[in-house]
Subunit: 354 residues, 2 copies
């Protein structure tokens, strides 16, 4: 059977887009499969702006999206899912299904899985934050949608909030709900949002309740110091144990661990910093390609820390948050590395045939 | 002038090694230039074991090192420095100088700068931790060297310590000394070392004094929980303001910010978690290739967060900690991405000539 020199990239978020561009720039054909109706993935769909520079997502991603759409070597299939695969490195026969239920078979030589994460559902397994009970308890994602619409309001009244609280680590660092990992980006995103809310509502008071502020690298001063010094965001080290309704406000109960005392504060809007879990597509691709999952449920890689993209299945690579909590920089770096690895593998297979 | 299809990689740590392997696997010649006498970079030279699995560095890196040494497309130049460069993308003429002072000229089409970081010198600009005064105040790196030798002792006596303190953020998150960024990996390395010390000295008491434990992603349970639950490492949120000698012990003064009270504790050994700064090689390559530095002094990239490796100079890419604080996973991912970008650029230049 002849070697297929084409690489399939599954998922068109930052990791998948960089992987596709990388493979195409290495003069190989790419089959880019995306289940949604547009390119860009979770950041493009759900985030108004991106860390670290708080620029609008569309502006940041436009060149990347245009580059893929116009690249003669990239065959983009939107609203399409991978439903089956057989074969092996150099010779995968994959079955795709489009939105109309039509199935096609494609041959590809290597596969890059970039199917990303989904946000933790704060109603799942824990009721303590009242996400499905109280209109004014929202998630980071809901807050981004409000920013996309240019209106930051209390959903219950449509009025701008005066006091806003972020609660960190919702669905992360939590043995009880089963997610023992840190989701890596929520500290950065909450801090970014706090700056944006202050820009929209200069008189609002913002509180971020946290265990550790994981503002690693340049985020420390680019976002964290900026939030505190320029925008007077209040960071409170504490544990929130309960949110209840009090009149038309939300009463947050817990402990301020720096002050070492119980805490009861009222808020107009509570934003839950929900963490990352493997997306449905990530779980499905794991099954279809026989990829083992690591103990947290994401797709396992081999050879860490020196290899971030190889899976135990030859010819199948992973990039981005399908392999665990990743920021955008992680995701694009992994996408680029996966492109190099996939094409490198096809080169080796081609030489072996000569 | 004819296009040079060879890629020069400068620096042979994890980022440079992955970049070199990536380029070679893409069937291009690599000129790998390393100023030291061996491959492997800072982790291989200075670290006994690596995060996240605490495996010995030699074991972890052996396959990577062997792969580079045996690759027919990689021309390794040890004890060699880049001392000058002229030309442009596709046509760089670089001058190398070896340990004997002999100079050669080489033509390369693209350059990947992977010259890494150096550890913050804790005697520089701040005397408060007594690094150059007290034998029993050491750095993370000194501790790794002791582990490489299989002997964790108080340097003053040669005896094993009973009480060991780590002080986090030495040379990081500190406006006074001028490093306003977080160095990203020190929390993980200190926690890794604390586990290793407990394995060597089960009766030792270990304390880690920190501002925030930045154990992002899987480090949270892989290292942080493990240190606390299996190895009974004591994490103390606090600020250390002074270390003084008291008899043959070290007295640490500061504030326990969780308990909200002053703190005075004696220790046998103090390990300073020193952060990252641009290495001398990184600064030199910045000058030689005309690469601007970002506000913290590392080499600037363009297009972040969607491009982690492109510099403002066409044909010159950066990978790893030359661009800022990076963990090993970041570094290899960037190395792989830089390989794809460098070869992709040479492909485009070659097509433009046809």
């Amino acid at each position: 059977m002849s070697l297929s020199e084409r690489v399939m990239v599954i998922g068109a978020g930052p990791a998948g887009l960089e992987a596709a561009r990388g493979v195409a720039d290495l003069d190989r054909q790419v089959l880019l499969v995306e289940s949604k109706g547009q390119l860009g993935g979770t950041p493009y769909e759900h985030y108004a702006t991106l860390t670290p520079h708080l620029r609008e997502t569309g502006d940041v991603m436009r060149a990347m999206l245009d580059g893929i759409n116009s690249h003669p070597l990239v065959d983009v299939r939107l609203e399409t899912r991978v439903v089956a695969s057989e074969g092996e490195a150099g010779h995968f026969r994959v079955t795709l299904e489009n939105a109309d239920g039509q199935r096609t078979e494609e041959e590809v030589g290597a596969v890059i899985v970039a199917t990303g994460f989904s946000h933790f559902d704060p109603g799942r397994e824990t009721q303590m934050y009242g996400y499905y009970e109280y209109d004014d308890v929202v998630t980071l994602v809901d807050a981004e949608h409000m920013m996309q619409n240019g209106r930051m309001v209390r959903p219950s009244t449509g009025e701008p909030p005066e006091r806003v609280a972020f609660i960190q680590c919702v669905g992360s660092r939590d043995r009880q709900i089963g997610n023992t990992y840190c989701s890596k980006v929520c500290c950065g995103i909450a801090s970014k949002q706090s700056i944006e809310i202050k820009r929209m509502l200069p008189n609002a008071k913002i509180f971020i309740f946290y265990i550790d502020m994981r503002m690693y690298g340049f985020w420390e001063d680019q976002i964290y110091w900026k939030a505190q010094e320029e925008h007077k965001v209040n960071y409170v080290r504490g544990i929130v144990t309960e949110i209840i309704k009090k009149g038309d406000k939300l009463l947050i109960k817990g402990e301020d661990t720096t002050m070492g005392r119980p805490m009861e504060v009222t808020m107009d809007l509570v934003i839950l910093s929900v963490g990352m879990e493997p997306s449905r597509g990530t779980l499905q691709m794991g099954q279809i390609f026989g990829l083992p999952r690591e103990p947290h449920g994401f797709l396992a890689t081999v050879g860490e820390p020196l290899d971030t993209v190889s899976t135990p299945v030859a010819g199948v690579f992973v990039a981005g948050a399908a392999a665990g909590p990743k920021d955008i920089e992680d995701s694009v770096s992994m996408g680029g590395m996966a492109a190099a690895k996939a094409v490198g593998l096809l080169n080796r297979l081609a030489r072996a045939l000569v």
